[in-house]
């Protein structure tokens, strides 16, 4: 209890701006996780988002190496991440649209190759670089400038989701019908992938690759059990994501453990718990029906 009180007093303590920034970052990224996560989930492209987010490590590794060895001055990990995210999204987008047969192989290859390039370059980077710091990130290191970037992306994503909601819904539900209605489904898909890639880059430098992919799928997946439509799935996903982020931050603070990993564990627990409860309810309903009939 004292720990919890300590967490709340840290939140309002002007000497600890990083705790407040972490909370605001959690809330701002919840909008991205909720809205993009719902689309990723119903469009079943979580694998694609996973590949992009992991391939980004390759760009980070190369950028760290080039900067530390002085070969390219001023290059930041985020620049490397952006290049790799765009490359990965372009390759995956083209392969998904043009060559369906080998889609899964290419996605896994990009996932593995991107990460491996990252590890190789980090190993050759002067000084010590821990790849796991990029896997789990550290939300407590977030700056006010980062928060502004997050806020801008939130506004862009909300505007796009609102403006093109009917097209996103139709493309995700029945792509063939959407095409017949004249919706440029390929462009909508590439736009979804690009927005996901941009969000992944921005989010993963704050909260880490593992948390990004977990939070793009788990809150939306949990929301899917309750949501009546795609819009409510986006809204519920955002609320769940905010709760998980807040819970993870508080628990991380109180138990003195990494916040990112804590958020993922809470989100995963909620998702698996909901899924198990739903399965039990369906099973018991079927049994009751079966018993009534016999």
């Amino acid at each position: 209890m004292d720990n919890l009180l300590g967490f709340f007093s840290a939140l309002v303590n002007p000497d600890f701006p990083f705790v407040r920034n972490a909370l605001v970052a959690g809330l701002l990224s919840s909008i991205l996780f909720g809205v993009i996560g719902a689309v990723v989930t119903v469009k079943r492209i979580a694998g694609l988002a996973g590949a992009i987010s992991h391939a980004v490590l390759g760009g980070i590794g190369i950028a760290l190496y080039l900067s530390a060895t002085g070969k390219v001055a001023g290059i930041t990990p985020m620049m490397g991440a952006i290049v790799f995210a765009i490359l990965a999204a372009a390759i995956i987008g083209v392969v998904s649209l043009k060559a369906k047969q080998r889609e899964d192989t290419v996605i896994q290859a990009i996932w593995a190759i991107g990460m491996s390039i990252g590890v190789l370059f980090m190993a050759k980077t002067p000084g010590y670089t821990d790849p796991s710091s990029y896997l789990f990130g550290n939300i407590l290191l977030i700056s006010t400038k980062d928060l502004v970037l997050l806020f801008i992306l939130d506004v862009v994503v909300i505007l796009l989701a609102w403006r093109f909601y009917p097209q996103i819904e139709a493309t995700s539900f029945d792509e063939e019908f959407a095409q017949v209605r004249g919706i440029p489904t390929q462009r909508v898909f590439l736009l979804m992938l690009s927005i996901t890639a941009v969000a992944v880059v921005l989010l993963q430098t704050f909260v880490g690759i593992v948390m990004v992919i977990a939070m793009l799928t788990l809150p939306a997946g949990t929301a899917g059990y309750w949501a009546k439509n795609l819009a409510s799935m986006m809204a519920l996903g955002t609320i769940f994501s905010a709760i998980f982020s807040f819970g993870g931050l508080a628990a991380g603070w109180m138990l003195d453990v990494p916040v990112g990993a804590m958020v993922v564990v809470i989100a995963g627990g909620a998702f698996l718990g909901t899924a198990a409860t739903r399965m039990l309810v369906t099973y018991s309903r079927r049994r009751t029906l079966h018993n009534d009939k016999s």
Partner: protein, 265 residues
């Protein structure tokens, strides 16, 4: 020849995927208000032909005309009822929202109120108005198919195309579906694509069979066959009255005596 305007015309159409010839020298036409069936076994090129009509593929040779223009330009006049076999039952969506999708525009947004009104009207037309708020995944296969018909009707199409509308459907659902289609017979051009080669609904004016190969050709073509009423067909088996396809009586693919429905019904 009929004086009723032509809704769809295939003139010497050939289509191939890379080196695989699928369709070769396909010629046939459908008049406005006509109720036609396109039948053929699996792998005969039905889906390809459908994609050409819907403007999702372009023929390499010949010409497809939909209401006098390229299908790509006029495809919004089509109300398409797909099989939708890859449907995801976990997708959260209500019946009304599925139907509302039928009025979606390519990139712009329309007011929700006007789309809701049109969607409810279409649901009433297929007698499913009371299920508007239900989750789509809770419906039976037959109900879902009628919801997809309502979705196709929302935009007020000049032509309805149904892909395998009775697949995996019980006789009662099939009858209800054809009862709905009966309401549109003569007013809307209707084309049903099916793999059931032997019988078609009694509503059918003309039947086109896909799958035959002309001598010396690799791709399939379309031939028109004659129909005869089946007096003894058990209605519960065919979802209402049926007609038998006479595969041994071949009519020229462009032959027709369609009179706008005056002698049909």
């Amino acid at each position: 020849m009929s004086t009723v305007p032509i809704a769809l015309r295939f003139s010497h159409v050939s289509f191939s995927y890379d080196t695989l010839a699928v369709l070769e020298d396909v010629n046939f036409h459908i008049h406005e208000g006509e109720f036609s069936a396109l039948v053929g076994p699996n792998g005969s090129g039905k889906t390809t032909l459908l994609k050409l009509i819907l403007g999702l593929e372009q023929s390499q040779k010949g010409e497809v005309r939909l209401f006098g223009d390229q299908p790509k330009k006029n495809k919004s006049m089509i109300g398409y009822v797909p099989q939708h076999i890859t449907y995801d039952p976990t997708f959260p969506i209500s019946v009304l929202e599925v139907v509302r999708m039928g009025g979606v525009l390519s990139t712009s947004r329309r007011s929700r109120a006007s789309r809701d009104k049109a969607a409810l009207q279409a649901l009433e037309q297929v007698e499913m108005g009371e299920l508007a708020q239900r989750p789509y995944s809770e419906l039976s296969g037959g109900q879902r198919r009628r919801v997809l018909v309502a979705r196709a009707l929302v935009a007020g199409p000049k032509m309805l195309i149904l892909d395998e509308p009775t697949a995996n459907m019980d006789a009662e659902s099939e009858k209800r579906l054809f009862d709905t289609l009966r309401l549109f017979k003569g007013k809307t051009t209707i084309l049903i694509v099916t793999h059931d080669m032997s019988t078609v609904s009694s509503l059918t004016d003309r039947v086109f069979c896909i799958g035959a190969q002309k001598p010396g050709q690799k791709g399939r073509t379309v031939v028109q066959h004659s129909l005869e009423p089946m007096d003894n067909a058990p209605a519960e088996l065919y979802g209402g009255e049926a007609k038998r396809v006479l595969h041994d009586v071949e009519l020229p693919a462009d032959y027709c005596t369609f009179d706008g429905g005056a002698n049909n019904g």
